[in-house]
């Protein structure tokens, strides 16, 4: 997938190096090889490759990673503009 890249400088991915214990799970679960282990700590090697799926944050037992995975669907985002975040919903079961 090297020839498919999206917008740069937009990801909300954050790694707290102090909290990181170097378990390596983030590298294991990331579908885009965003993380790599650098000695005893993880590091974000490719932040623009991050799609904010949240697998890393979900599985970081040390709580060193945070990311805000949204829905990423145009129809849903339009709803949050019109109705506000509270009222927006993935209403149709046919959607995704």
């Amino acid at each position: 997938m090297e020839n498919l890249r999206y917008l740069e400088g937009v990801t909300t991915l954050e790694l707290d190096l102090e909290a990181c214990v170097g378990c390596g799970v983030c590298e294991l679960v990331c579908p885009h090889a965003v993380f790599q282990m650098n000695g005893k700590k993880a590091e974000i090697g490719d932040p623009d490759g991050c799609m904010e799926c949240g697998a890393c944050a979900q599985n970081c037992a040390a709580g060193a990673i945070c990311v805000t995975p949204g829905v990423g669907c145009a129809s849903y985002i339009i709803q949050t503009w019109i109705k506000g975040k509270e009222a927006a919903s993935c209403s149709s079961s046919e959607c995704c």
């Binding site: 997938m1 917008l7 990801t11 294991l28 697998a55 599985n59 829905v71 990423g72 669907c73 995704c96």
Partner: protein, 401 residues
């Protein structure tokens, strides 16, 4: 005794029937099935019901038989897809009743697993289940199917259906700890979005091992000692993977399109004679062509040609394919348009194409929601503006020309 009884007696007392008649014994003898099926009237009946069938339940075509376990019978499923599976896949890919294309959650197996065999966890979307089981030939394994409401692994993980909670619940519900000694589960990597491995361990005692992204790497993964290499962990988005998504994208269009086109045909008829049905039809058809051009450019061409179209933002990629389609539309109607109409048709094609291409971001495995939101804040006002200008130009043209 009525006529019918007399007929039967006469029939069965002849030389054509050699088995005991059911009237004499009151039972259907299993050993003499074929003889019993020779009939005196009409065609032979269908086969007897399989002993695997149960009242109130239908035996599914992909179940081979049942394996006895300490927790009751577990269905053993075929590892080769058959006609009904391929047909089901086709229908699902067309977006028809996709949310009902699912199987019952719970424990299944392939081959002849024992207490040391691996447990593979998956979703109850039948397409997912089929994708998995066809890669399990020659393997002895348990398959734990989660209730993801008929949704595939990654989407379900994002929707908190393929979740820590569901994994823990399903382990308990199937009494899995009585079935396997090792208390280990292999989960598809894309489930990680919804499942916290350390939390599953805490709540169920089962250890989650992250398996490969793709089912076709499972046997290789197991052979490597349940370890993934980099290629097994990366998601791809090949031209084939992009193309199979197109029918579903198109299936969302008919309903809104009906109203849009109704409005377009109506607006096309407005002119110097207030309203002309002739104009509504002929000008409406031209607008329809531009609309269809926009759909082909944004929902078909853009997904297929994705990496080769300039621009990172999908709305921009849709502009490029839209311009090509728009110019094609203009060439089609050349000579029949005044400049205002040409501009209008081009803007409609480009606007629609840009919007639909932008919508495709929701179907890709690499666009971030933050990026999509940034793209949309810029693109939607521009798309709306373009369509507005197009409408004004289109209606005005009827008065100018």
């Amino acid at each position: 005794m009525g006529d019918l009884d007399r007929q039967n007696n006469e029939c069965c007392s002849g030389d054509s029937c050699t088995g005991l008649s059911s009237m004499q014994t009151g039972l259907q003898p299993l050993s003499e099935v074929s003889l019993q099926d020779e009939v005196c009237c009409g065609s032979p009946p269908g086969p007897q019901s399989s002993s695997l069938e149960k009242p109130g339940y239908q035996l599914l075509s992909f179940v081979e038989d049942f394996k006895d376990t300490p927790c009751g019978p577990v269905p053993r499923v075929k590892t080769k897809l058959e006609g009904p599976d391929h047909l089901g896949t086709l229908i699902a890919r067309l977006g028809i009743k996709r949310d009902q294309y699912k199987i019952a959650p719970g424990l299944y197996c392939v081959g002849n697993p024992d207490q040391d065999s691996p447990v593979l966890v998956t979703a109850n979307y039948k397409l997912t289940f089929d994708t998995l089981r066809q890669e399990l030939t020659y393997l002895d394994a348990w398959v734990l199917v989660l209730d993801t409401r008929g949704i595939n692994v990654w989407c379900a993980a994002g929707k908190a259906l393929f979740s820590t909670q569901e994994v823990v619940h399903r382990i308990k519900q199937t009494m899995l700890e009585k079935v396997v000694n090792h208390h280990q589960l292999i989960l598809p990597q894309l489930g990680a979005t919804g499942v916290s491995a350390h939390q599953v361990k805490k709540e169920s005692g089962f250890k989650v091992v992250w398996g490969p992204v793709r089912a076709k790497d499972i046997q290789r993964f197991i052979a490597a000692g349940s370890r993934t290499d980099k290629s097994m962990r990366l998601v791809t988005f090949s031209i084939l993977e992009r193309t199979v998504l197109i029918p579903v994208e198109l299936s969302h269009l008919p309903k809104p399109s009906f109203w849009v086109l109704l409005a377009v045909f109506f607006l096309s008829g407005i002119g110097t004679s207030i309203f002309s049905l002739n104009d509504a039809w002929y000008r409406g058809l031209m607008a329809l062509t531009a609309y269809v051009g926009g759909i082909l450019a944004g929902a078909v061409a853009a997904p297929i040609l994705l990496p080769w179209i300039p621009g990172r933002a999908f709305a921009l990629k849709g502009v490029f394919t839209g311009i090509v389609a728009g110019l094609a539309v203009l060439v089609l109607f050349k000579g029949g348009l005044i400049w205002a109409e040409a501009v209008a048709l081009l803007l409609i094609t480009v606007g629609i194409s840009s919007y639909l291409a932008m919508n495709f971001t929701g179907s890709t495995p690499y666009t971030s929601p933050s990026g999509v939101e940034k793209e949309m804040r810029l693109a939607i006002p521009v798309q709306a503006g373009a369509v507005l200008v197009a409408l004004v130009a289109w209606i005005s043209a009827a008065f100018i020309g």
